[in-house]
């Protein structure tokens, strides 16, 4: 069993780290966060260098790599800056569904503009604060001669303001699920961004679809694949957020470590106090556990495993490790950590926003226990 990144993977990691070091700036990040602005210029540069869509096939302009490589890039970005990193990690949410379920035409039409930094794509499935709740799905797709007419309200859509394309789950004639690729229609779509606590560079909010016309060929996947598509979306979305979580905890750790070796109280550096050293040690434990779990989860999802156990487990463990690490990191900064001028303050808000995207611990335990004792409690 090999438990090492390949040379090529390490090179990708290094390239992404170098890019982030060169382009991400703490003052810029602070400003973008406070004003809720997407890092437009950095995104353009990142696409030019091929960091977006690294796992797309070469035919559409990608590099033909796997999900794991795309995760390495997101991790490196978020390590440098949780806000900018997350924003860049979410510009092509939904493209994974086209890669897996899309027709050849759909891939050729919708993916190249993402690679070239012309368009962004997102997913609009949820209709309540619980994106996974299918029971509330009521967005309708009516069949007309020229295509579907889509009506409904999607909630907490990520990258709402910036997205040019949406993968939307609706109900066809009030019954069957229907996943559609919907292009932005200024006249028949209204967006209502909400202000949120963290990840402020990437907008989120409600999408109102007022009889948006969608051609038949934008139907995504075959009939009968809807549940697979829904599940796959949650898996790859979780992976993306796990990668962000991993980068964020590494970034928080590095900042706390650096600060603890500089700050002195009682005539000693903070890093000389045993409890501070132990906090740093515990952060390492969390990072290593998370990294192993997440990379394993990426392989499971890539292989299309029916039951990606490491993925489910990492959603519990990585979520709480990350928030624990960022909390201790803030504590090491003392009063400074609470100030908006310190990066760790933003990391703290972003960490909890990312954690929310991973689902609650209770829900994950529901999922895991269903696998252990069965849905109807029959082993």
């Amino acid at each position: 069993m090999e438990f090492e990144l390949s040379e090529e993977q390490k090179d990708i990691q290094k390239a992404a780290e170098e890019f982030a070091r060169g382009e991400f700036d703490p003052d810029l990040a602070l400003e973008l966060d406070q004003r809720g602005i997407f890092p437009e210029t950095i995104w353009k540069k990142a696409t030019r260098l091929g960091f977006i869509g690294i796992h797309y096939p070469e035919e559409v302009g990608g590099q033909g790599l796997s999900l794991l490589e795309s995760i390495l890039v997101m991790e490196a970005f978020c390590r440098r800056d949780s806000g900018i990193g997350s924003a860049l990690s979410l510009v092509d949410l939904g493209s994974d569904l086209i890669l897996k379920f899309g027709s050849r035409d759909q891939k050729e039409k919708f993916l190249p503009p993402i690679i070239q930094g012309e368009k962004q794509m997102t997913v609009a499935f949820g209709e309540s604060e619980d994106e996974q709740d299918l029971s509330v799905l009521s967005t309708q797709a009516e069949k007309r001669e020229e295509g579907y007419l889509v009506k409904g309200v999607k909630k907490y859509v990520l990258n709402l303001s910036r997205a040019d394309m949406f993968v939307i789950l609706c109900r066809e004639s009030g019954e069957q699920w229907l996943p559609l690729i919907v292009e932005k229609d200024q006249d028949r779509m209204e967006i209502y961004p909400i202000e949120k606590m963290g990840l402020k560079m990437i907008s989120s909010g409600d999408l109102h679809l007022q009889s948006v016309g969608v051609p038949y060929e934008n139907r995504l996947g075959e009939r009968g694949q809807e549940m697979d598509l829904f599940q796959y979306y949650h898996r790859v979305k979780s992976l993306r957020f796990l990668a962000q979580a991993l980068g964020l905890m590494e970034g928080a750790f590095e900042r706390a470590l650096r600060y603890s070796t500089q700050r002195e109280q009682f005539g000693r550096r903070l890093s000389q106090f045993q409890v501070i050293k132990h906090k740093l040690a515990e952060m390492q434990v969390g990072i290593e556990i998370s990294r192993s779990l997440i990379y394993k989860a990426a392989l499971e999802v890539e292989r299309g495993e029916l039951y990606p156990k490491a993925l489910f487990i990492s959603k519990i463990e990585v979520g709480r490790r990350m928030t624990g690490i960022v909390d201790e990191a803030l504590q090491i900064f003392g009063g400074y950590g609470y100030m908006a001028e310190e990066e760790i303050e933003r990391f703290y808000r972003d960490a909890w926003t990312i954690r929310t995207q991973l689902g609650t611990e209770e829900e994950m335990r529901d999922l895991l226990s269903e696998r252990i004792v069965g849905k109807k409690n029959e082993p």
């Binding site: 949820g126 309540s128 604060e129 619980d130 994106e131 996974q132 709740d133 299918l134 029971s135 509330v136 909630k155 907490y156 909400i194 202000e195 949120k196 606590m197 963290g198 989120s204 002195e264 109280q265 009682f266 005539g267 106090f273 409890v275 501070i276 928030t323 909390d327 803030l330 504590q331 003392g334 009063g335 950590g337 609470y338 100030m339 908006a340 001028e341 303050e345 703290y348 808000r349 909890w352 926003t353 954690r355 929310t356 689902g359 609650t360 611990e361 209770e362 829900e363 335990r365 529901d366």
Partner: protein, 380 residues
């Protein structure tokens, strides 16, 4: 022994709750957004006799006890921790040293207007390089011809930009490390005192936090608190003991607020078609929150009672602060987690409680410092 609130205390809680609901609740969101303290509130609360609760009647104060102060602080923080911070510092660290150790002249000058909310107090100990280790202060107060000349800078000072006077810690005898410190009252209009900048924070947005500078700031010797040079840090110890118990009340108030919104959330929210409140895991979480809050409240008021009896040790006070501020974190974290995306919206107060609560592990002795204090008092 303290077991339950008596009738008078219950009536007082009812009164302050009504007052804060009426006077504070409606303005919270506006001022949180503006990230500024609603200064007019000081006079309003002064009219209601809700400032400097322990200040004796002799100086115009309500002359109440620590338990009453905690009741008031719990209720105010239940509505807004940022506003709670400003009111707490004003009636606590800002004026307490004057009340306990100041000359009659200082008391007559500063307490009555503070009680009425006409003059706002602040307290400045922390410096850029001296936080947990107060003995490493660099601010100096050197005696020059019957006056003291203050030089130095202070940071993270609550009420910093809005205060009319500030109680400042400085070395009168820098060669006596730790013991050569005194407290001085500096007026806003004193030459050489300036506000460098207001600081933006993760939470407690209504609380005003600033960096201050003293640049050849002369104050008359009568404005030193206490008769003799040296011993200021010991005076502070006494004030901090009271302040740490107040943190128990603040934590209980924020926890109560977080609990109330979570309870109403789970009553209405559904997951996969089922009411969230039917989930066993969620029921356990709410039961635990209720249990923790019960224990926090008990611990806080026991501490306050001991304080009123003159029996509270620093260990008692540190236990109150450490237990309550840390337990509060567990409550707000779980509360925000189960509300999922809804919990992150800035129009949902739960994220404010969450951001506000995070502060409490830092001021008036970080959690690590509380551990060290308790261990020291254990005699090890």
């Amino acid at each position: 022994m303290f077991y339950e609130f008596d009738e008078r205390q219950r009536a007082f809680r009812e009164k302050v709750r009504q007052t804060y609901e009426k006077e504070v609740r409606p303005i919270v969101e506006e001022y949180e957004k503006k990230e500024s303290f609603p200064v007019f509130l000081f006079r309003r609360l002064g009219e209601e006799h809700l400032l400097c609760l322990r200040c004796p009647k002799k100086y115009g104060g309500p002359g109440m006890d620590k338990i009453s102060e905690c009741i008031s602080m719990e209720e105010l923080n239940r509505i807004c921790a940022g506003i709670g911070a400003g009111v707490m510092v004003h009636g606590g660290l800002g004026t307490d040293p004057i009340l306990r150790f100041g000359s009659e002249g200082l008391k007559q000058t500063y307490l009555p207007p503070a009680v009425r909310g006409e003059k706002i107090g602040a307290f400045a100990l922390t410096e850029p390089n001296a936080g947990s280790d107060a003995s490493s202060l660099r601010t100096l107060a050197i005696k020059v011809e019957g006056r003291y000349r203050l030089n130095g800078s202070k940071t993270f000072i609550t009420n910093g930009t809005i205060c009319d006077f500030v109680t400042v810690a400085a070395y009168t005898h820098p060669e006596k490390r730790g013991t050569g410190i005194n407290l001085f009252v500096v007026n806003r209009e004193d030459q050489g005192f300036s506000v460098i900048k207001k600081l933006r924070k993760l939470g407690n947005h209504t609380a005003d936090t600033a960096e201050l500078a003293f640049d050849d700031c002369f104050v008359p010797k009568e404005r030193m608190i206490g008769e003799q040079e040296c011993g200021g840090l010991e005076q502070l110890e006494e004030t901090l003991k009271s302040g740490r118990i107040t943190y128990g009340a603040r934590s209980t108030g924020v926890a109560q607020a977080a609990f109330e919104t979570t309870l109403s959330y789970v009553r209405e929210a559904k997951r996969r078609g089922n009411l969230l409140q039917k989930s066993q895991a969620i029921r356990f979480i709410l039961a635990e929150m209720a249990m923790f809050i019960e224990v926090m409240r008990y611990t806080t008021y026991r501490g306050a009672w001991l304080f009123d009896q003159g029996m509270a040790s620093m260990k008692d006070a540190s236990i109150v602060k450490l237990f309550c501020t840390e337990t509060l974190q567990k409550i707000v974290m779980k509360a925000i987690e189960i509300q999922k995306e809804a919990g992150l919206r800035t129009d949902n107060p739960i994220q404010r409680y969450f951001r506000d609560a995070r502060l409490f592990k830092i001021p008036e002795g970080t959690s690590e410092i509380q551990h060290l204090v308790i261990a020291r008092e254990l005699g090890i």
